[in-house]
Amino acid sequence: MTIEPLLDVRGLVKEFPQSGGIIPGRLSPIRAVSGVDVQVLPGQTHGLVGESGCGKSTVARTILQLDKPTAGEAIFEGRDLFKLNKSDLREARKDIQIVFQDPFSSLNPRMTVQSIIEEPFVIHGGAHKSEREAEVKRLLKQVGLNPEHAARYPHQFSGGQRQRVGIARALALQPKLIIADEPVSALDVSIQAQVVNLMRDLQRELNVSYLFIAHDLAVVRHISDVVSVMYLGKIVETGSRDDIYENPTHPYTQALLSAVPEPDPILERMRERRVLVGDLPSPADPPSGCRFRTRCWKATELCAEEEPALEDPGVGHSVACHHPEVEVAISSR
């Protein structure tokens, strides 16, 4: 790729100490994220999908250093975010913003929408009160809210409207990157579509990049240029949107896609479901070798012994599997 990535995360590891046990520190830490590489190109969206507990949200939180990373680097515009001192990090945070999942807990209930959206300006100084007010009005309009409602409190808005307020706050400092952690999964379907469309429009307008984290493969398909699939702290497959949805190669990706229900009874009955057996293993004690092998229908002894590398098996994108299904696509197509 010739374009320089805006954000280049390499070898990201995040361990959480396990509490409990009689002697502190005796239990080995839980590796929530275990060596993840993610690149976000300018003006593009990288979708990070996986089921709960796969570590996708931890990736977001560590990049923003809401949690301290254990190892790895995150190069943003040539500088490693993990090595910045406090004041440089504060500066860098102007360029990287976050939108959270829960539109109810992500806005301070005791603050008006005006003070929520202008907070970034207050924190980073500059702009007089009147300028800030004008700016908040402009931002509200930009995210499709009535600028007259700036004096209202968050609980006076619906879920979708609050998520727009959250987006307006994230846009305030004109960031280059927005990390969106499950931004639509708490919303109703008809509202979800509004927010996804808004995010796409804003991207086109402002050339902002997104790291879009979600469990819903269908939503990710509608907004992402590049998609990575995570399982138990690792990326198992990564490629362009078409690679992932038209030519899924990792068994886990295939299973995920085949499990997504479609609102069409006839199509559903024709589809051959690949229903995974069992549950996600505990991240405290991941399986040896390939982490997916305990639920994989293709697992062999090799999978238990050796961890597959994330590389291209000749399909044009990277897959971490010893037995990639190179030519088979899911049967509904």
Partner: protein
């Protein structure tokens, strides 16, 4: 259609709150026959759960008030019946499972014990008999190693396994009707598929009536026989699933169907329904969807009744469906 097991007729449920009267369900009617799967679809606040909570007697009263209508199981009217009568119906005859199995299971008791309790309490089974039957049941709902799982606590179960345990408890007394309120919403997509398959298979085995309540149009598409779509406490469309999914009639159903993101098909801009649902405290006198409807017209200030469309299996509450209008894009 066979003789219905459960009949809800003209049911209205209100919540009397400080903020005013919330009309959670207005004049809802449906029937469920044995062996039938009915899906009640709607977004949050549509009242989709309230009607079945009324069936199960789970509404907190006050603030909830059943403002009218009837709920009949066989020959028994459930509204206003003696608690002793209801106890023999709710649970043994009509069982229910919930969205969040963690809060529905008691954290301080072993899962197996909670299932066994159903046999001991309702059928007076002996300890060992209850244990054997519980283990059989756990096996039947696909809980691996049931002997070991029997002795574990809810927190030692994963989300999917907990939902299976809940299903086992609900099935313990061989109910004739099972109500599942968002049974897969809290679960991961791969586990979702497992649970839906399980429910479908159990229903085929037992010929019970199954009611699925969900906001997810996709999840129930493969299992539902019939569909009811709710909006702002009102039924806006009913019909057999196949023809509903092929051609939704009400503008709300159409919009909803088109706003579902897909993993296949053309990658166009997502369709969205503008605006937000009306406050249920202050419902408009006419059609509740009028403020967001792309096909709104003069008559929408009158509240539309459910009108039969096409073959007799389908109805929609829209002034437009009765008239020969071209298919809106």
């Amino acid at each position: 259609m066979a003789v219905p097991l459960l009949v809800v007729e003209d049911l209205s449920v209100e919540f009397h709150t400080d903020e005013g009267i919330v009309k959670a369900v207005s004049n809802m009617s449906w029937e469920l026959a044995a062996g039938e799967t009915m899906a009640i679809l709607g977004e949050s606040g549509s009242g989709k759960s309230v009607s079945v909570q009324a069936v199960m007697g789970l509404l907190p009263m006050p603030p909830a008030v059943i403002a009218g209508g009837s709920i009949r199981y066989g020959d028994t009217e459930l509204i206003g019946s003696e608690p002793s009568v209801l106890r023999n119906i709710r649970g043994p005859e009509i069982a229910m499972i919930f969205q969040d199995p963690l809060s529905a299971l008691n954290p301080v008791y072993r899962v197996g014990w909670q299932i066994a309790e159903m046999f001991r309490m309702h059928e007076g089974a002996s300890r060992s008999e209850a244990r054997t039957r519980s283990i059989d049941l756990m096996q039947r709902v696909g809980i691996p190693n049931p002997e070991i799982r029997f002795r574990q606590y809810p927190h030692e179960f994963s989300g999917g396994m907990r939902q299976r345990a809940m299903i086992a408890m609900a099935l313990a007394l061989n109910p004739k009707v099972l109500i599942a309120d968002e049974p897969t919403t809290a679960l991961d997509v791969t586990v979702q598929a497992q649970i839906m398959d399980l429910l479908g298979q159990i229903q085929a085995d037992t010929n019970m009536g199954l009611i699925l309540i969900t906001h997810d149009l996709g999840v129930v598409a493969s299992v539902a026989d019939r569909v009811i779509v709710m909006y702002a406490g009102r039924t806006v469309e009913t019909g057999d699933a196949e023809s509903f999914y092929r051609r939704p009639a009400h503008p709300y159903s159409k919009g909803l169907m088109r706003s579902v993101p897909r993993i296949t098909g053309p990658l166009e801009r997502l369709h969205s329904i503008d605006g937000t649902p009306p406050s249920v405290v202050d419902l408009p006198a006419g059609c509740a969807f009028a403020t967001r409807c792309p096909e709104v017209h003069d008559r929408c200030t009158e509240r539309p009744a459910l009108i039969q469309i096409g073959d007799r299996t389908r109805t929609a509450a829209c002034h437009l469906v009765g008239e020969p209008v071209g298919e809106a894009v």
